[in-house]
Symmetry: C2
Subunit: 399 residues, 2 copies
């Protein structure tokens, strides 16, 4: 096990009917609030009205930043920074999914940086302190509600980068599973695929002696596999929504990754897809992950044992031969996404109908993600990424 | 899943060779330190010298509280409070196992209470704020290093009570697996039994829809089962010690219990054993737990399914009939403790040679633990506890 620091001081308020705690939590940081959110979904669900009413009753000043999109854009961040400075705001309240929270994090960090906000995305060392951030989560997916990471896109430069800072960790996160009842089937499936990918990226590592992390990752994967179909079948299944919400938080708060370092692979590849085509992050991950695992099996025999154990422990594969078990595990994951969560498993279904940018995306994935270094589980060349991406245009039939 | 708050702001510094971070961590709270520890083990291992040298180099003032015993006594707490007040100390540094940290927590909380320290053990509402606490853990067992609980004994009154407070959570915990290399086989086994008991107490609950908690508890139990024999075989097995250390922390930091409320049973019963006979806590738990599970199976058929799933998922029992599977799981646990971790599984082996106090302990366990309420997994009368305790005087042969 590697050395690690785990410091996650986010105050998690999990469960239903506890929004009345919000004013007290916010007031600890001030009464002038940047209310950041996305489109109209929180207005349609009534959450927006409840929040505004609660804060108005307690004489908070609210300045709104609206229109934060999926794959949040640097323009939203710049606008947020401008609003915070103009109105001398004390605290950010992000209401929405991972995109809203990520944008809010970078606003919080960029407020104290004099240059352009994109600089702190490219170079996290430019952030020193941050405005306090509180969030109300409405989507189970990214885990941003309990960590120090954020991902921002720059559509002008086709770049989608992650940034990070201890000071970006939300002060408090309100996780009410009922706020995810209105999430569509499509977004529910995409969110679960995102959670599964976070767990896979951390699970497939070469660190010795990480049984805690391995076993906990398997536990969370099984939880997602059990509960996603239940939430799809009955969107108001409180327990299913609860398990997905809490699993998504724990999947990326350090619990699974700390002590078991390894570079990520599918995320850097998907980040190029989203940067070029603005596709749904989780769907891209669902499509890329099984092709990547197949690549690992075929490129590097030393992966067979671990992928086989994953297949046996998570997907209940009964097969003694490691390579066969590993391949059966990949097949199980592919068909789970396709059949149980109804994700269309080719890039065409996301609207990417041509392979013309595959080479460019492959080169950038290797460059931005350091995929040809020793960091990833299996190092990848541009040709390797290109092959995986081209595989994503075909249904998988051979595993 | 129940509503819960999870707020665990302890700064975990996990791994080896990072003690040089200690002065900076402590200095955030002040330079006048109460150094609390137990017997001579940290002197023998050299840890005491390293800590004192580091702090002296940085001009800390050190006042020592030594002799904190297993099942820490209220007298140690009173002495600590006196020293903090007399020397106007800023911060407590606890170096040791759960007993030392627990005593330090109650010292931290009692300093600001004017009356006798035992009052805040009996009534936690008497604590309001606390002195900051940093610890260096030397035993994998209680999980106190990342939670707000403490257990203190009063040998005058034969009482052993838990107390709790948000302000008691350690500010930082240094978890170096190498500091557990010198832990004896006996204490290693006792510590692992303590972890297993924490997980069982939380795992056996009746809350619906707690897959995250259930699966994570199983993951941690498997980790303990895998790694304890490795640590016993080779006390300097870094990875085995790491997994035990991190599993012990996660077993009781809220991860497994939050959202899945249930009253505990084996701990209240064991607390009477320790209060009356001062036996090793973990050994008492190892002895009580399988008898308690057998009691559950025989008292309440509705427990069979859950105990059977535990048997299958944690102990790899292959048996379709729930009651049979449950009984096979109890047998597996009993023989694991006895054969794989070399715990002598009767109360006689702890030095309790007479049953004369069993009735009194049973009555107090029910009273102190609320065992006849609806809180425990299976409510227990005084007669039920008496039967379980009497069973602890015989080797288990029928499961």
């Amino acid at each position: 096990m590697n050395n690690f620091r785990m410091y996650v001081p986010t105050d998690i308020r999990f469960g239903k009917n506890r929004l009345e705690e919000l004013p007290e939590v916010l007031a600890e940081y001030g009464k002038k609030v940047l209310l950041a959110y996305g489109g109209g979904s929180i207005k349609k669900s009534g959450l927006y009205d409840k929040v505004v009413q609660l804060l108005n009753e307690q004489n908070f000043t609210i300045v709104e930043l609206t229109g934060i999109e999926p794959n949040p854009k640097i323009e939203s961040v710049r606008e947020g920074v401008r609003l915070v400075r103009e109105h001398d705001l004390d605290v950010i309240l992000a209401v929405g999914g991972g995109s809203v929270v990520d944008a809010a994090k970078v606003i919080a960090g960029a407020v104290f940086y004099e240059g352009d906000a994109w600089d702190v995305v490219v170079d996290k060392s430019k952030m020193s302190k941050a405005l306090p951030l509180v969030d109300i989560l409405t989507l189970s997916a990214t885990g941003t509600e309990m960590n120090r990471n954020a991902v921002i896109s720059n559509t002008k430069t086709n770049e989608k980068f992650g940034t990070s800072g201890w000071e970006l960790i939300p002060k408090a996160s309100f996780l009410d599973p009922e706020n995810t009842y209105t999430v569509s089937s499509y977004q529910t499936s995409a969110g679960s695929a995102d959670i599964m990918s976070h767990l896979c990226e951390q699970y497939f590592n070469r660190t010795q002696g990480v049984d805690v992390q391995t076993n906990v990752a398997e536990a969370l994967m099984k939880t997602v596999i059990q509960n996603t179909p239940l939430a799809l079948e009955n969107p108001n299944d409180y327990d299913a929504r609860s398990n997905l919400m809490w699993a998504s938080t724990l999947a990326l708060n350090g619990l699974v990754g700390n002590g078991a370092g390894q570079g990520w692979t599918c995320h850097p590849i998907e980040h190029e897809l989203s940067a070029f085509y603005d596709i749904t992050h989780g769907i891209g991950l669902a499509i890329v992950t099984p092709r990547w695992l197949k690549f690992c099996i075929e490129k590097d025999d030393s992966t067979h044992e671990r992928i086989a154990n994953w297949a046996r422990n998570v997907w209940n594969i009964i097969e003694e031969n490691d390579e066969k078990a590993a391949r059966l595990g990949v097949r199980a994951m592919y068909h789970y996404f396709k059949d149980n969560t109804k994700i269309e498993m080719t890039l065409q279904a996301t609207g990417i109908t041509t392979t013309e940018k595959v080479r460019e995306m492959s080169e950038l994935a290797v460059k931005h993600g350091g995929l040809n270094s020793q960091n990833p589980y299996v190092p990848m060349t541009e040709n390797d990424v290109e092959k995986v991406l081209l595989d994503c245009f075909e249904e998988m039939t051979v595993f």
